[in-house]
C-alpha cells in the first residue's frame, strides 16, 4: 500500500497522539492560529485598502515608499490612541524630528501586527519571540540558498497558508482533507488511474504528508524558521530583496511586517489563489473519479498476488467504556441527552465558577432518599468544584512529574479525596465501600468501593466514578456496583455519574 491513503490517515492520527504538554502547546498554537486567522483577514482588508489609498496619493508625494505604517494596521480605537500618544509625546522631543526609515516603519507595523495577533491570545511572549527568531533565521538561510527549488512544495504550502497566517493549523486541515480523499480512493486509484491524475494524487499525498510530518516535528522556533524560509519567500518574493539588502540591520519583526503587508495585496497572492483554486478543483475531480472506483477497490484485494485486506469490523456496543469527553467512546446506551454539563461563569469580581447542570433523574433520586433538590444540586456543585481544583493542583499528566499513568490516577483520587474531606460535608463521602446493599468496611472482601457517594452514607442517592487518562471501569467493577450498592427506597438503582479527566485524555 502506498503511503498517502488509509495509511496517511493513520499517520495523522498518530501525529495527534501527543503528550499532554505537547497537546497543551498544540492547543495554544491552534488557538493562536484561530485567532490569528480572524485578525489577519481584518488586517488584510485594512492593509489592502491602505495600500490602495497610498498608491492613489503617491503622485502627490504623500508617501515615499508604499509601506504600510504601523498605525494603519491598528483598529480604529487603537489608532486614535496612538494619535493621542503621539500628540502627548511631541513636546518631549528634542531637536528636529527624526525621519522614519523603511525599517523603522516596518518594525512598528510588525510590532502592531504581532500585538494584535498574539497579545490577545494566550501564546506566550517567549514563544512568539522564539517564532520570530526562527523566522529571521529561516529568511536568512533562504537568501543564502537562493535558487533552491521549492516548486512543488511551495504550491502546497501555499494552499495551507492561503489568505492567512495561522501557524500550521491549515497544514493539518489540508493534509487531513487530502488523507480523506486518498482514503476514499485507496491506492488502487493511485496506481491504476491514468498517469497524470495518479501522479497528482501521489504528489499531493506525499507533499502533504511531508509537510504535516515536518510541521509536527518542529518546535516553535523551528516552526518560525520554516515559515520564514519556505513560506515568506513564496508569498513575497519582493521582500526577499529587501531582506537580503538589509538583513543584518532589519529588525526581525520588521521583516515579518513586510511579508504580511505585501502578502495582503500582492500579485503573487492573486497568482497563488488561482493555483489553489486549480488544485482544489483537481482534488474535487479526484473525489469524483474515486467514486466509481470504490467497487473496484473493494474487489482489488482479491486479485491474484495481492494481500487480502481483512474486512473492517463494524463498531460493537461497548460494555465497558462508560463515558469520555465529547461523544468519543460513548457506549451506545448513553445518549448525548444523558450528559451532565458543567458550565463556567465569571462573576463581577472575576471569580470563575463552574455550575453543574444536574439531570432530573439524579434530583428525583435525591427526593426518593428524602433530600430536597437544592441540597442535591449543592452537593454535586461541591464535587464539581473539587474535581476542578484537584485538576488545577495536579495539572496535566507528565510522566516526568507523575510517573506512571496509574500513579497519576492515584494522585488525582488522593487530592480529590483530600479536597472533599476537608470540607467534611456529611452528605458527600469519598471512597465509600458497600457490600450487598449495605455500607461496609473499606477493603473487606467482596465489597465495592465508589469514588464518591452522595447522600446519607448508607442510603446514597447517586455515586460518582472518576477515571483518569485511559482508565475505564472494568466489567467486574460494574457488576460489583450493581450488586453491592444500596438501592433507592423505591428499589431502583441509584444513578451513577462518570467523569473522565483530564479533558482530552481520550483523544
Amino acid at each position: 500500500m502506498s503511503h498517502g491513503q488509509p495509511g496517511d490517515n493513520q499517520n495523522h492520527e498518530r501525529a495527534e497522539k501527543v503528550s499532554p504538554s505537547d497537546r497543551a502547546e498544540k492547543r495554544a498554537s491552534q488557538k493562536a492560529g484561530g485567532e490569528a486567522s480572524g485578525s489577519m483577514e481584518d488586517l488584510n482588508k485594512s492593509v489592502v485598502a491602505n495600500i490602495q489609498e497610498k498608491r492613489a496619493s503617491r503622485s502627490s508625494g504623500a508617501t515615499k515608499d508604499g509601506f504600510v505604517s504601523a498605525d494603519s494596521l491598528l483598529p480604529k480605537e487603537k489608532k486614535q490612541k496612538r494619535i493621542e500618544q503621539k500628540t502627548e509625546e511631541k513636546p518631549e522631543q528634542k531637536g528636529p524630528e527624526k525621519t522614519e526609515t523603511i525599517t523603522d516603519k516596518a518594525t512598528k507595523a510588525a510590532q502592531q501586527v504581532f500585538e494584535s495577533v498574539y497579545k490577545a491570545g494566550t501564546i506566550g511572549i517567549a514563544e512568539t519571540g522564539k517564532f520570530l527568531k526562527g523566522m529571521g533565521d529561516g529568511e536568512r538561510e533562504f537568501v543564502e540558498e537562493t535558487g533552491k527549488s521549492l516548486a512543488v512544495a511551495k504550491d502546497y504550502y501555499g494552499q495551507a497558508f492561503k489568505g492567512k497566517v495561522n501557524l500550521g493549523a491549515d497544514i493539518k486541515e489540508f493534509t487531513s482533507a487530502i488523507g480523506q480523499t486518498l482514503g476514499t480512493a485507496g491506492d488502487y486509484y493511485i496506481n491504476q488511474v491514468p498517469k497524470g491524475q495518479a501522479s497528482l494524487g501521489k504528489d499531493i499525498s506525499e507533499t502533504g504528508k511531508a509537510a504535516s510530518d515536518h510541521w509536527n516535528s518542529l518546535d516553535t522556533e523551528h516552526k518560525g524558521k520554516f515559515f520564514g524560509k519556505e513560506v515568506v519567500p513564496l508569498l513575497v518574493p519582493g521582500a526577499v530583496g529587501v531582506v537580503a539588502k538589509d538583513i543584518e540591520a532589519a529588525n526581525l519583526t520588521g521583516k515579518a511586517s513586510q511579508a504580511i503587508a505585501a502578502f495582503a495585496g500582492s500579485e503573487k497572492m492573486m497568482e497563488l489563489e488561482q493555483k489553489l483554486t486549480a488544485i482544489q478543483s483537481k482534488v474535487q475531480q479526484m473525489q469524483e473519479l474515486a467514486k466509481p472506483l470504490q467497487p473496484a477497490y473493494a474487489t482489488a484485494s482479491e486479485a491474484p498476488g495481492r494481500r487480502p485486506i481483512a474486512p473492517i469490523e463494524a463498531p460493537r456496543p461497548d460494555d465497558h467504556i462508560l463515558m469520555m469527553k465529547g461523544d468519543k467512546g460513548l457506549p451506545q446506551g448513553i445518549k448525548p441527552s444523558e450528559k451532565v454539563h458543567v458550565s463556567r461563569t465569571v462573576d463581577a469580581k472575576a471569580v470563575v465558577s463552574h455550575k453543574i447542570d444536574v439531570p432530573e433523574e439524579v434530583l428525583k433520586a435525591a427526593e426518593k432518599q428524602g433530600l430536597d433538590r437544592v441540597t442535591a444540586q449543592e452537593k454535586l456543585q461541591k464535587v464539581a468544584e473539587s474535581i476542578k481544583n484537584a485538576y488545577y493542583q495536579i495539572g496535566d499528566y507528565d510522566p516526568k512529574i507523575h510517573g506512571t499513568e496509574r500513579a497519576y490516577g492515584n494522585r488525582f483520587h488522593e487530592v480529590l479525596r483530600e479536597n472533599l474531606n476537608k470540607q467534611a460535608d456529611p452528605l458527600v463521602h469519598t471512597e465509600a465501600s458497600y457490600l450487598k446493599g449495605s455500607q461496609s468496611e473499606w477493603g473487606k472482601l467482596g465489597t465495592s468501593r465508589v469514588d464518591i457517594s452522595l447522600g446519607e452514607k448508607n442510603e446514597p442517592f447517586a455515586s460518582l466514578c472518576l477515571k483518569t487518562l485511559k482508565a475505564i471501569p472494568s466489567a467486574q467493577q460494574e457488576r460489583g456496583w450493581v450488586r453491592n450498592l444500596p438501592k433507592l427506597k423505591d428499589g431502583t438503582t441509584p444513578p451513577r455519574l462518570h467523569v473522565k479527566l483530564p479533558p482530552g485524555a481520550d483523544e
Partner: protein, 86 residues
C-alpha cells in the same frame, strides 16, 4: 437484560482548561507568570500557581491563585494586579 443496563448513567462533561507554562501578556501590557503575587479585592494577596485558557466559550485566559489557608481561586487575570514579580 444485563445488570449494567439497568443503571441510570450520566456523563459529567466538565469544560476544563489547558495549561500554559509561559507568561501571558494582558491587553494592558501587564505580564503575568507563574509564581507572581497578585492581589484580589476579596481574597487579598496570593501566588499564581497555574495559568491556562479555555478553548470553549467564554474563551480567554485565567489564573489559578493560591491565597493560602487552602483558599485557591480561578480568576480572570484582568481583575487582579501584580504585587510582586518573580
Amino acid at each position: 437484560m444485563s445488570e449494567e443496563e439497568e443503571i441510570p448513567r450520566f456523563e459529567m462533561v466538565m469544560k476544563l482548561p489547558y495549561f500554559v507554562t509561559e507568561p501571558i501578556e494582558l491587553q494592558d501590557g501587564t505580564v503575568l507568570a507563574i509564581g507572581d503575587q497578585v492581589e484580589h479585592v476579596d481574597f487579598g494577596c496570593g501566588t499564581i500557581i497555574r495559568i491556562g485558557a479555555y478553548d470553549e466559550e467564554p474563551k480567554g485566559p485565567f489564573i489559578y491563585v493560591d491565597f493560602g489557608n487552602d483558599v485557591r481561586k480561578e480568576l480572570d487575570p484582568s481583575f487582579t494586579h501584580i504585587v510582586k514579580k518573580i
